[in-house]
């Protein structure tokens, strides 16, 4: 029972971070219809940037802020250089450009920062665990979860109450209509990439704090995809719920199935679950069902 509760809690905490990255993903998809497979590498870049600043002695929050700024700039640059020219191209072309981007980013990151695992030293969060009833939670997890929740709330408010957020929602709903009332779609696309880059950076930094940072953290970008699909491709709440579900599922499988299927069951479970899930609910939990006509 205790193991079960522990697993669930850890799952929810990690799931919060997944949700944060998934949010950036959904944002890009909603605003510009681009399926972004470079999310994992965007996470890596943000994480490495904040790690570099932190190692130079910059306080953690300031380092995070720097990584946000750089993420913002990189997001806009990426959109302007690569994606801007592809508006209206077939899906496969756009997907492959993001795949190309992911290789480009990955190669660059490996070139600049190497492949060794690096840790935030001195640790940002204290190692001393917190006891809540029978549960033992690492401080890193707790703070990551809190940070993720705060950022999620900020994002949701941003979409609901600010001018930019509303413009983005309008473009997501109907690009033509948004253009006709004076929303600049190009601006919205650039903003979507910038925000996604920033969200990815925060997610990556938090994850880097948990287990140290190396190139395999980029795997997160792939792990987020099942979460996104589970929630439905174009639903922000779906991304959050999906992220948490995937986090829980992953930890449950790690705790209970590892005995029977030794090895990498933890990494595979989300994908296997998703493949089966899609057979029954092809549009995820809250995705838009497209009605197609010839």
């Amino acid at each position: 029972m205790e193991l079960f509760l522990m697993t669930i809690t850890t799952g929810v905490m990690v799931g919060g971070i997944y949700a944060l990255v998934a949010l950036g993903w959904v944002l890009i998809y909603k605003c510009s219809g681009v399926l972004n497979l470079a999310m994992g590498e965007m996470t890596l870049i943000g994480a490495y940037v904040s790690l570099s600043f932190y190692s130079m002695g910059v306080p953690f929050l300031l380092a995070l802020a720097f990584s946000l700024v750089i993420g913002f700039v990189l997001g806009i640059l990426t959109e302007r250089i690569f994606l801007d020219k592809l508006i209206g191209e077939p899906v496969l072309t756009v997907i492959m450009v993001t795949v190309g981007l992911s290789f480009f980013f990955k190669g660059t990151v490996e070139f600049i920062w190497g492949t060794d695992t690096r840790v935030f030293s001195p640790p940002v969060f204290s190692i001393e665990p917190i006891h809540i009833g029978p549960l033992i939670i690492g401080q890193v997890y707790l703070w990551s979860f809190i940070a993720a929740i705060i950022l999620l709330i900020v994002f949701v408010c941003f979409f609901k109450y600010t001018r930019w957020g509303l413009a983005m929602q309008a473009t997501a709903d109907d690009e033509m209509a948004a253009l006709s009332v004076g929303v600049s779609a190009r601006f919205v696309y650039a903003a979507a990439w910038a925000i996604a880059f920033m969200a990815a950076g925060v997610g990556g930094t938090l994850l880097g704090n948990i287990n140290g940072l190396n190139i395999s953290v980029g795997y997160l970008g792939l792990l987020v995809l099942p979460a996104v699909v589970l929630g439905g491709l174009n639903s922000v709440p779906g991304a959050i719920v999906g992220g948490i579900i995937i986090g829980i599922l992953q930890n449950l499988c790690g705790a209970y199935l590892d005995r029977y299927f030794p090895g990498a069951v933890k990494e595979i479970a989300p994908f296997a679950f998703m493949a089966i899930f899609l057979l029954f609910k092809p549009y995820g939990l809250w995705g838009w069902e497209r009605i197609e006509r010839v």
Binding site: E89, G100, G107, A264, M274, R293
Partner: protein
Amino acid sequence: MSTTWLPCGVYHETYAQDHAWWQTRFIRGKMVLLAFILFAVIPFLADSYGLSVCNQIGYTILGALGVQLLIGFCGQITLGHAAFLAVGAYTSTLLILEFPWPQWMMQWGLAYPVSIFIAALVAGIWSVLFGLPSARVKGFYLILTTMAAQFITVDFIITQYVSQIGGRGQAFSLPPGTIKVGPWVIDSDLKVYFMMLALVIVCVIAVVNLLRSKAGRAWVAIRDNDISAAVMGINVVKYKLLAFFVAGAIGGIAGAFWISNLAAVSPEHFPWFWSLWLVGVILIGGVGSVHGAIFGSIFMVVIMEGLQLAVMPLADTFPKLLMDFLFIKEAAFGLSICVFMIFEPNGLAYRWWQGKNYFNLWPFSY
């Protein structure tokens, strides 16, 4: 794009001429020349390095053909094709190593050829299994299920279970002399080269003929619009699964071929990167043409080898460059895909087609 305009002044008079593979005597002559170069010039001019590059190209062509069939002709985007290559390679390896072949089959050297067939079959069926969701989902959702195929097959089943069979640890090695086609033991680059040529030619002919048949027309209809294809009376699910089967089978052949070159197999030979690489190859070559798969393979392999050759001389002065070459290669691959997609979305096959038609139609450019 697939139709070639005939040279000025050439007309067909019979259906047989219209359906012919090579429609003019000039084209037939070109094909004979190509065959001559492939069979007689390259093997004797190229050294062992050149042959190994050729083998790599052949392997890439075999892998990319299946991807081309799925993406270019049936519109089913797949990002997990390396899984089927892996299934083929492992099936073939395990059959050779573990299956109790009758003595006469061993003597006649039938074990490996038969295992290629079985590998194709197994990989095809495995591919159909992961193609099943395509009955209900498409586009991005399908990409995810094919990605699931990659991770479940290679990273889980093969790494954790299959590669533990026989207690050999992670990598299987095939003792020399076990890979035998008829009386020939495949043990040199030259022999691998000839086997590669045979397999590539057989597979290309098979795919091109399939595309000319009912199945091929059904695939193209599904690619263009699957709803209208269904309205026209095409059994969409059946043909989608058939496409997955054929693509997986070709992937299986590719995998089974590749073990003859490496004489060893381990899960690291089939990473996700390789799946993406194959898709990149057909995008650079041109989506929706068999030429595209071939051009793309040649281009990518030659460019990467060229990059390596260019880096080698610099290694003495900049040792860091050699160490980081893998990363540069990765970044260059990514960037080249982006650049190609932005500036040349039709791929190399389109350029080839344009150039050919320029000469065919000369001096009238219409």
